[in-house]
Symmetry: D2
Subunit: 504 residues, 4 copies
Amino acid sequence: MIRKPQEYIESLNDGRVTYYLGEQVPDVTKQPLLRGSINRAALDWVMANDARYRDLVTEVDEDGERVNFLWRQPRTAEELLRQRDIFVLSCRIGFGIGQNCHAMGVHAFLAAGVVAAKMDKKIGTHYMDAVESYRRYLQKKDIALTGAITDPKGDRSLHPSMQKQHKDFYVRVVDKQKDGIVVRGAKMHISAIATCNEVIVSPCRAHREEDKDYAVVFATPLNAKGITCIHMPMTANAAGGEEADWDYPLHGNTATTTETLLVFDDVFVPWEKVFMCGEWQFSRDIAWAFGTYHRLYSISHTVAESELITGAACLIAEYNGLEKYGHIQDKLAWLAMYAEETDVLSKAACSYPDVDPETGLAVPNLVYTNIAKYKFANERSEALKILADIAGGIASTVPCFKDWKNSNIRKYLDKYLAAKDGVPTEHRLRVIRMVKELTVGGGYGTAAVMNAEGSLAAQKMAIYKGSDWERYKAAAKRLARIPGWEDHSLFKGVPDPRKPGYWE
Amino acid sequence: MIRKPQEYIESLNDGRVTYYLGEQVPDVTKQPLLRGSINRAALDWVMANDARYRDLVTEVDEDGERVNFLWRQPRTAEELLRQRDIFVLSCRIGFGIGQNCHAMGVHAFLAAGVVAAKMDKKIGTHYMDAVESYRRYLQKKDIALTGAITDPKGDRSLHPSMQKQHKDFYVRVVDKQKDGIVVRGAKMHISAIATCNEVIVSPCRAHREEDKDYAVVFATPLNAKGITCIHMPMTANAAGGEEADWDYPLHGNTATTTETLLVFDDVFVPWEKVFMCGEWQFSRDIAWAFGTYHRLYSISHTVAESELITGAACLIAEYNGLEKYGHIQDKLAWLAMYAEETDVLSKAACSYPDVDPETGLAVPNLVYTNIAKYKFANERSEALKILADIAGGIASTVPCFKDWKNSNIRKYLDKYLAAKDGVPTEHRLRVIRMVKELTVGGGYGTAAVMNAEGSLAAQKMAIYKGSDWERYKAAAKRLARIPGWEDHSLFKGVPDPRKPGYWE
Amino acid sequence: MIRKPQEYIESLNDGRVTYYLGEQVPDVTKQPLLRGSINRAALDWVMANDARYRDLVTEVDEDGERVNFLWRQPRTAEELLRQRDIFVLSCRIGFGIGQNCHAMGVHAFLAAGVVAAKMDKKIGTHYMDAVESYRRYLQKKDIALTGAITDPKGDRSLHPSMQKQHKDFYVRVVDKQKDGIVVRGAKMHISAIATCNEVIVSPCRAHREEDKDYAVVFATPLNAKGITCIHMPMTANAAGGEEADWDYPLHGNTATTTETLLVFDDVFVPWEKVFMCGEWQFSRDIAWAFGTYHRLYSISHTVAESELITGAACLIAEYNGLEKYGHIQDKLAWLAMYAEETDVLSKAACSYPDVDPETGLAVPNLVYTNIAKYKFANERSEALKILADIAGGIASTVPCFKDWKNSNIRKYLDKYLAAKDGVPTEHRLRVIRMVKELTVGGGYGTAAVMNAEGSLAAQKMAIYKGSDWERYKAAAKRLARIPGWEDHSLFKGVPDPRKPGYWE
Amino acid sequence: MIRKPQEYIESLNDGRVTYYLGEQVPDVTKQPLLRGSINRAALDWVMANDARYRDLVTEVDEDGERVNFLWRQPRTAEELLRQRDIFVLSCRIGFGIGQNCHAMGVHAFLAAGVVAAKMDKKIGTHYMDAVESYRRYLQKKDIALTGAITDPKGDRSLHPSMQKQHKDFYVRVVDKQKDGIVVRGAKMHISAIATCNEVIVSPCRAHREEDKDYAVVFATPLNAKGITCIHMPMTANAAGGEEADWDYPLHGNTATTTETLLVFDDVFVPWEKVFMCGEWQFSRDIAWAFGTYHRLYSISHTVAESELITGAACLIAEYNGLEKYGHIQDKLAWLAMYAEETDVLSKAACSYPDVDPETGLAVPNLVYTNIAKYKFANERSEALKILADIAGGIASTVPCFKDWKNSNIRKYLDKYLAAKDGVPTEHRLRVIRMVKELTVGGGYGTAAVMNAEGSLAAQKMAIYKGSDWERYKAAAKRLARIPGWEDHSLFKGVPDPRKPGYWE
């Protein structure tokens, strides 16, 4: 059953223990910045209730009820492509970032399922019953589930049970009881905690036998006793409203997902939500399966983000009247390559899936997915550098909303910061604010550092003009026996061993 | 005569018309954020009055008075190296950015001098008198001077006098009177306006005859009638104090220099401060001379900034317990190369100067200077990418000062965000905040985007593990006639044209 | 009708005027080096007559006769994918290079067809009749056809009719007669001339009206009067036989395709083989259509070549016992990315074709094809650098066949040039010869230059060990307010503007 | 005493056991290809006897005799800069490669001296006597000495004494006798064997105690009993004479240095030429000292080679009439940067040397030297790619000498392969042959692969033209709230969470 957006939002006010910017938050739906993130997440429910998207994002279960299509464990290229289409749509609507309620959680859950099946078969456990029962619950209650994978890790060179300062750098089982287990530890960089009802927790690494208490997979509601959610500062801008939109179009009001340090202070989990407990040989499988599934999301948001970066570059080139210059077209072509390469590899990862011969389950093509993710992340700094380069120094020194609203100076801004005739100055400033937000970093900001004291092109031209081309050419002519080098001071009269008879 | 820091600061309250964040500012020394920038600039006067630095940054003039050494027009490698040492010291004290009161202005003034001498000689003008008289004034009054070069430009494909929307996209002379000239237009990206007493204004491009009204070089106090200073938002953090230092070590309190849109609404300039007026053939020389001088500053701040980036990477690697891993050392070696290459090229630019044969004036080696600047700017995004890569995802999800101050959650942060034994968690968080400030950009922030869904190294390993090495090797073995490819499905039984007698 | 390989070979002895290495060649099938190239080309006919490949490379025409599938003008993704499969197979058999008789010619012909249809429709010509009649001839006679596009161009900054030295830098019509036309000029870089029966000639650029004599498309047998074929030196090795295979596995006997300067000294062409004559407005269309079709071949051979480079690297890493080292796996992963990215983009270019809405004709996706080709060509030098880096200096100093055959020294070579236990020294040497052949270039050869005086990794480690890390860390600690920088000589006692009350 | 070139040459006919191309060579001065290398090496003696160079390359010893300046152990920046000047001159005369008789040997000897002093001081040995006595012998007899460092290594993952196949993969002492030692093993990649009288042999790695037989440094004449010199194939062209010069200007007659597998089959070495024997703790020092000294040579030949590559690019750009295009100037600027960066770093490595505080001995600055070498080697493939890119496809398909000499086809070549008016076609072809020789590699050759099926620039333009800019711009406009995206099919009607009141 698909919930209404408002039902979803209200369900998050569930008494959980939450901190944000150092203060305890009684109701996450009332804290303005967290609410920004929740509003963004609620778009998943808008989509599922919208006639245009419903058939893409939901399917009808055996009871005739609509359930979210993402809970389906994919078996074919078509199912993977459809899940990818859902993520791409969600990320495109979300300006490069998906709503994310159905990414971490979905993939952590699918990974738990794959490994439960494997354990049951190989060592005779019965985890698959718990998994399937939980899947029905997720579908029927339309739960917002996230996943918690990364542990704080402490000293990276030591195994979990060998840590010196304390033993809780990785989440572990501290007690096994008749009805369930008790867990302690923390998970960090956990996305979408403020926007989800429950979380599924898995190991992030392989284990050895002495670490078997750390080999645990379980799900729990976020308002369980002993859980503290410490949200890290988001990039959202406190001003809000029109000012935030003007100054920070990407994050002004449309907050990104939250990132959270999730603390488990001896939390009880009933056996029906435990999907692994002590089977340390399978921890590696969980980590690997999660990674493989989750990169499907990864290579979906890259499509929308690279499209946005490329579009910003193209727009500011046009507004600056530069779109006809060869070197600008060359840079735009690079960005288009960046965007399209990402998209092609992502589609191919679904079209050519890896299918497990035993179970028939399909995961995105391992190699293609990883190439897509690697290329996107590795070349992103180059893409943003090019964006800053095209935009010019003004991407660091652009005025803000408050400047624009003061009529005493707006007249000057409007007059002097105009560029191509026909483009309203405000449009130009809006796109430059966006470029600034995308590229800022490191002191002055990228655009300033690149353009202060002359652009890259200016340096290249100065080098070209200042270089000693006569020396270079003389060296080459002498080798190729072309006249014209003999009088160059560096080469004049040097021995010529190639002269016939020189050595006789 | 060298002023005291406090004298310098007070001189800036001179009645100028200034706006910041959309509000008019009656006294720039009282606006907290501008004052941050002024405090930073005042370090130039601290240095000049400090026994340790005085002999480096000042010299004694013919009257026996101390004057700033930067006003000297350099003629030798030694003088250039000394001016470079001043800038490097200033930038090192300033965390990668110089105080800047004596950079733009100095170099714009030196450029005006070079071109005045050239004009006087070639076309019989007498600008050199005005230049020398102004130099004495700058030295004796110890004036804080900045330079204004870049015009707003409007449509980049049109010359100044051909602009469609209006004719003021480049600063121009609108009236010549008996005692002086009247100028109109604006200059943008102008650094250090809030921290200087006067500004020297020059063209940023070559001109043709029809643009001769735009061929104008002059100096003016910033409180002259008709000047409006519209400061653009700085990256300084409004919180200030301990919180700002914790969260934004680079810009929290130590604001960067200001960047300003400087509007000239029919401003009168007396002839004694006019250094070019209508000699359009020499505009190109002014732009070129300024660029060449000013890159000396450019390749000085890069030394300090690259040193800081490299140090941050080394420190966080140590705190995370990673400094012994080969791939981390490889990355640190890259950063050290980045820092040292910048330094070597900068020193060599001064050691091997270009000396004008006619005048004996020395400028930094054109080619070396531009290589230094290009390499620094072009590779900076790679340097920051490496920094983010070493720091890991926490460089996006690190807690802030307010989190740290709440004892309810500090206990968790202290416990779980510890890394290498012996390093206080607070030290680790402080360096991570710095990395975050240096690398943030584009949505989530660089560190998040690079590390979400697995690090670059994780992708590479997945690709390595998932690749079809048997296919690749079979292709190579077949070519090299090494057995072992014959049974590979792709190659089995293919025609072998190299078999002896195949074609007979 | 598909010819037998031997019939094809004999048909090339047709009386044409051919030069190779400065000597006239009476019969191309008897010149040993050209014959190597012809043998390679004949594999196309081996494939077409081989039961395993026949259904892929041929189809049955309306008369029930088998004809080559490549003459078909593709209309669907499936047809494009099949043509791609043919090219990939051919290139894989050919060690990275296709047999090429059916690449240039096919694509030049398909381009002529597309533009003929366009001209007939837009300006009422009747070229399509000639095109269709020629297609039947090609299919029925199973003609080996190549294409000639690139003109010598002379001064690149001048249009064809504006050239100063003479007017023949681009092929042009010098006479129109009742039965046909007379053409003069030359085409350069023409592949597969020695291995084809006929050639189709097209313009390589857009034309203006004054260049209309240059707007000509025609086909001609290569033994036509007035044609001279000047073959450029191939990389084939004159030694031949076992020695050539050992020393130059890639080109020792399996010569590449020939590259030819094709001279037209007033050659007559009958109207039935003329597909454009004077319609200068359509020259641009011809050039564009050819480029688009032909890149399908381009992104097919890249699949086989990148697979071979990657395989060579993997093999030599294994033979040297290095495959377990992290930095070697990192490099191999890069190569696998290079190979797979090329393959994915190439498949996607066919799967998502551009279909002309008017004619229904399909060409490979313009953007994907060009990304594939660009990535392959642009990153190839990096791929070969990595290959040389993994192989080490021995890829420059490896012994040759003659060394190996001398038993006096073979005993030493066998003993000392062994590497991993279990790998015959000869196998290792064979793969190193291949690497040498692939990477040689520039003086000593790439491997020598990279490894002489220490490998890249050795430099990085020396930089790491020699760097002044204390300076870097002090700079960072000071900014982050972490103790430990105060005693560093560069920072000791510097002014601290952030100290509370400093400015009061 | 400085020998005459002819004396030097004759001294090499000393009865040594030499093989080349599989045949035993009775007298190395009579084998044509080896003699090419010897002629090149003899230039060192030409320089030392030439009044123009004598004062640079020699000094007067305490007996008033001229001796080679390179035998001096440098103590100051000036001495290092002078040794660098000698190497740069030698490499410039040698077209990018030094004569090399005084590079390996000099640096291996200097390293032996440094470590002998250290051993004598720390563990009371007396090796320094042997070192100084040998230095006098080298100076007085003007010996051509090379150095042998690299062992064949066998399985890289095993220590010398742990090798499985045999124990001789590293040179070792097999017997100690009253008068000397007996050594066995081989050294590979040994430069300049055919052109030297003696060789000094050192370990290439650190040792452990069980490897102490491998810790040996000694010198020996190359005609000692038990030494076999197996020269590897050089790139010299067998044709020789005018043809070789035309076709292979770099290596046609001016052969590179030889590279040799040097076999020691139980060779006796008297104690006076033994500089280390069993002191395994110091093997690491020898390897490190040699590396540090020898990189001075390394960063000298790079100056000459990078100058030549840059000059070739500039020349062919001019001959093709392309030097005015922005993208060509951009590429040339890159190459000038490459050349100058190498030069600056190399000079700085000598100007800022590392001086040992105990001994006062100076070595080139470790960090700067390694940066110079790394940058040169790492970016060289990019430099050659740019060279091939500027030259175009003809760098693969250029005619050869035999073509040019046939007057029947020369008329065509002269007519059609002309480019810019005023440049003789022969000059253009000569520089293209040089480019071909520098860039060939991998199948067809770099130029062909890069240009076949369109240049890199052509791909970029196709991508630019084919890209879906409307989609990209719509994405950006929507984010920046600029009208114009609402009707794009992908974005039309998507939910807008930023609309005021959307969630209320």
